[in-house]
Amino acid sequence: MSLRRFVRFASLVAVLMLVLTLPAPAQAPKYGGMLRIHPLAAPPSLSPHEESTIATVQPASACYSSLAYFDPAKKQESLETVIPELAEKWSWQDNYRNLVFLLRRNVKWHDGKPFTSKDVKYTFDMVRGAPDAEAKLRVNPRKLWYENVEAIEAPDPHTVVFRLKRPQPSLLLLLASGYSPVYPEHVPVAELKTKCIGTGPYKLKDNRPGEYIEFVKNPDYFIKGRPYLDGVKWVVIKDRSTQIAALQAGQLDVGGSGWNKANAETAKKGKAELLVVENDSNVNDNVLVNFKKPPLTDPRVRRAVNLALDRKAYLVGPRLGAATFGGAMLPKPAGVWGLPPAEVQQLPGMGDPVKQKAEAKKLLREAGFTASNPLKLTVSTRALAIYVDTASWMVDQLRQVGIDAVLEQIETGVWHPKMTRLEYQVALNLTGTAVDDPDAMYFENYHCGSQRNFSGYCSEEIDRLMAEQSQMLDRAKRLKLVNEIDRKLQADGARPILGWAKQYAVLWPYVKAFPQHENSIYNVTRFQDVWLDK
C-alpha cells in the first residue's frame, strides 16, 4: 500500500471512528399528545396557597406560574437552578434586604386579562396576611414563610419589590416553589379552589373533584414553542393496585406518586417495557416524641426510644432497602444542606444494634423502668399503609428493649389535629418540605411555637441560630451553621429521623423529559418541557 493510499485509508477510518463515537443527536421534541398521570391522592382543591398537600400542588402547577421556578432538567434544586418564570430577572439590593423582580411583558392570564405587578403584590400580600391585603385566604398554611417580608411594592406594572426586615437570601427559593404561584387579582380567591385562572402552560378544561382534572395547552403561554403536549390529565386512582394495573394497561403514561420500591418493581415485572426511575426525595420518616408528656419529658427515656430504633433494620424492613440516612436536612449528595456522611454514621440508632439496645435498656433502668415495671408506650400513626408499615416495625423494635409498646392507628381526618394538640406519646410521621432549605425545614418543624412542630420541642438557642443562618450570605458559613443546628437537633432527639425515602417514577419509554428532582417532589409538575415520542 502506497503512503498516499495508507493516509487516505487511515483518514477514512479516523472519520468513521469519529462519527461512531459522537453522541447521538438529541431527539427533537414532538408536539401533541395528552399526558395521563395520577396524583398522590384526590386533591382537596386546586388552590396551592390554601393547601399543604402535594396532591394539590401536583395538578395545579401545570396551570400556574411563579415569579421563578426550578429548572426541570436539573436534578438538584438550589439557588443556582432557579430559572426565570413570570420574572424575567431579579436582583438583590441594600445588602439582601430588597429583592427586585423585573416582570415579563405581554403575559396574559388564561381568561385573556393582562398580568401585571399588581397581581404579584395582591398574591403575596394575601399570603403573608398583610393588614392592607385586598383578599384573605380561608386557610393560610405558609404565612410563616413570609414573616420576614415587611412590604411589597409595585412601582410600575412590570416591577415588584419585596422589602425584608432582615436579609434572607433563601426567600427566592421559597418564591420558586410550587407552593408559590401568582394568583390573578381580578378573580375572587374562593373561586380558585375549584377553577384555575393562571398564566401557566396549561389551561383548565375540566375539574371533577375526586375523579380527574384535565388541562389543555395554553396557546398564549409566554414561553414560545412550549408546552409540547396538547394537555395533561390527572386521574385520581385511590387504590395502589389499580394504579399499577392502569399503567400496565396503558391507561396511564406515568405512575409512581407515593409508590414504594415494591410497587415500582411490581409494575415493571408486569410490563418489562416500563422504565423505573429511582431518586432520593425530601420526604423523611421521623419519630415524634412528645416533649410535653411524662415520662417522655425525661431525656433518658427519649434517648432510649431513639437508640432502640435500629436504622439499618428500618432500611431493610419497612423501606425495602430504598432510603438514605441523615439528620434533619436531606443528606448529601441529593440534599444541599445535609450533615457530612461520616457524621450521619454516628447518629443515634446507626451503630451496633446490640450495643445500642443495651444502652437503651440501661437508660430505661436508670429512669425507673424495669421488666416488672415496663415503660408503656402507645405508638400512634396515620391509618395509611405507608405509615402503618413503619410504625408496626417501630413497635417491634421498642419491645426488643423491654418497652411495652402498642400501635394506635389514627384516621387521616384527625391525624394532624391530634399531633398539633400533642395528644399522643410517640408517633411515626412522614414529613416533606417544599424546598430543600433550612428556612423551610427548620422554621416549620423545629421552631418554638410553630404549628407543625408536632413534638413540642423548643430551644431558644436553636431558634436564635435558625434566625442567624437565615441571614447569612456566605454559603459555606451558612452550611456550617446549618450543620451545627442539625447536630444539636439530633443530640436533643428533637424529632429522630429514621431515614429519607426514595421516590419512584414509572413511565412508558415514549414519555420524554419527565422531570424528577432529588431534593423536592413539590416543584416539578409544570410539565412545560415534557413531550411524547409517539
Binding site: 382537596p44 399543604s52 380561608r138 379552589k193 371533577r208 375526586g210 386521574v235 389499580t242 384516621e411 394532624h416
Partner: protein, 318 residues
C-alpha cells in the same frame, strides 16, 4: 292497595326523620370537625380566623339549631355546601348517583339472570352432578369478597390481554359501548356474590315447592317438566327471592365502597367514605339520607311486588 302504600309512605317518613337524627348525632360524636381538619392540617392556626370559619359554616351553633337548619334546607331541596370542596353539595353528589345506581342495577340484573336459573336447575336436578357443581359455584361466590374478586379479575385482564376497564368514568350518553365495558366487569364481580345467595335461596324454595301437592297434580295432569318447574314452581318459590333482592339492592347502593375503589368508579359509596374522613357534614348527611331513602323505598317496592306476584296477598284488608 293505594291506602296501604300511603300508610307505608307515612311510616317511611317517620323512619327517615328518626334516621336523620341518628345520622346527625353520630356524625357529631366523632372526634374533630371540618374546621379542625382544615386549619390544623395546614399547620397555621389563627384562632380568630378559625372562629370566623366556624361561624361561617355554622358549626359553632348548638346541635339542635344545626339539625333544624339542615332539615329545613333539605325540605327545600337545598343540600347545603360541601365544606371540603367549598361548592354546593348537590354539584358533587349529583354526578355520583348515576354511577352507583348503574353499578347496583347491573349487578342485581346479573345476579338475577345468573342466580335464579342456576338455583332452579340445581333444585330440579337435586343430588346430580350438575347440582353439586352449582352448589360449589355458589359456595365460592359466598366465600370470595367482591373486592378481592374484582382485583383478581383486573390482574388477570392485564396479564392476559393487557386491558382493563377504563379508569375514568364514561357516561352511557357519551359512549354506551365503552360505558358497558366499564361496568360489566365490576357488576359481575359484585353480582356474583349476590347471585350465589339468590341461587341458594331459589334452590331451597324450589325444593320445598316441588314437593307440594299441586306440583304433583300438575305432573299427573301431564304437564311437561319445563312448564311445571319454570311456570308453576318458580312463581311460587319467588317470594323469598324477591325479599332477598330488596335487601341486596339496598346493600349495593351503600356497600360498594371497595368495588368502586378497585375499579376506580366515582360512585356514592367511595365518596361517602372520603367525606366521613374529612368531616364534610353536609355531604355525609345527605348521602346517608339518600341511602336510607333507597332502603326504605326498596322495602316498599318488595312488599308491592309480593302482592303482584302472589294474588293471595291482599294489603289493607282485615
Amino acid at each position: 292497595m293505594r291506602g296501604y302504600i300511603v300508610k307505608r309512605l307515612l311510616i317511611a317518613l317517620v323512619t327517615l326523620v328518626g334516621m336523620s337524627m341518628v345520622i346527625f348525632v353520630l356524625l357529631r360524636l366523632a372526634p374533630g370537625n371540618i374546621v379542625d381538619v382544615l386549619f390544623e392540617s395546614a399547620g397555621y392556626v389563627d384562632q380568630a380566623d378559625k372562629k370566623q370559619l366556624e361561624r361561617e359554616l355554622g358549626v359553632d351553633r348548638p346541635i339542635a339549631v344545626q339539625y333544624a337548619r339542615w332539615v329545613g334546607e333539605l325540605a327545600q331541596g337545598d343540600l347545603g355546601k360541601s365544606y371540603r370542596y367549598d361548592m354546593p353539595a348537590w354539584k358533587i353528589i349529583k354526578p355520583r348517583l348515576p354511577v352507583t345506581l348503574e353499578l347496583a342495577v347491573l349487578a342485581l340484573l346479573f345476579s338475577i339472570l345468573f342466580g335464579v336459573p342456576c338455583g332452579v336447575v340445581s333444585a330440579a336436578q337435586q343430588n346430580r352432578p350438575i347440582d353439586y357443581a352449582l352448589r360449589v359455584l355458589s359456595l365460592a361466590g359466598l366465600s370470595m369478597p367482591s373486592f378481592w374478586l374484582g382485583m383478581v379479575i383486573i390482574l388477570l385482564f392485564v396479564r392476559a390481554v393487557g386491558w382493563i376497564p377504563s379508569v375514568t368514568y364514561v357516561s352511557p350518553f357519551d359512549d354506551l359501548r365503552a360505558n358497558l365495558w366499564q361496568f360489566i366487569v365490576p357488576a359481575m364481580a359484585v353480582g356474583y356474590r349476590s347471585s350465589a345467595l339468590i341461587m341458594r335461596i331459589t334452590r331451597s324454595a324450589m325444593l320445598e315447592v316441588l314437593r307440594e301437592d299441586y306440583i304433583r297434580t300438575a305432573r299427573a295432569k301431564g304437564q311437561g317438566t319445563r312448564a311445571v318447574v319454570w311456570h308453576h314452581a318458580l312463581k311460587n318459590a319467588g317470594l323469598p327471592v324477591i325479599t332477598l333482592l330488596g335487601i341486596e339492592f339496598a346493600f349495593l347502593i351503600g356497600g360498594l365502597v371497595v368495588t368502586e375503589t378497585v375499579f376506580n368508579l366515582p360512585g356514592v359509596a367511595r365518596y361517602l367514605v372520603d367525606a366521613i374522613q374529612f368531616r364534610d357534614y353536609p355531604v355525609v348527611q345527605n348521602l346517608t339520607m339518600f341511602i336510607a331513602i333507597v332502603v326504605v323505598l326498596a322495602n316498599l317496592a318488595v312488599d308491592v311486588v309480593y302482592a303482584w306476584v302472589d294474588p293471595r296477598i291482599k294489603y289493607g284488608q282485615a
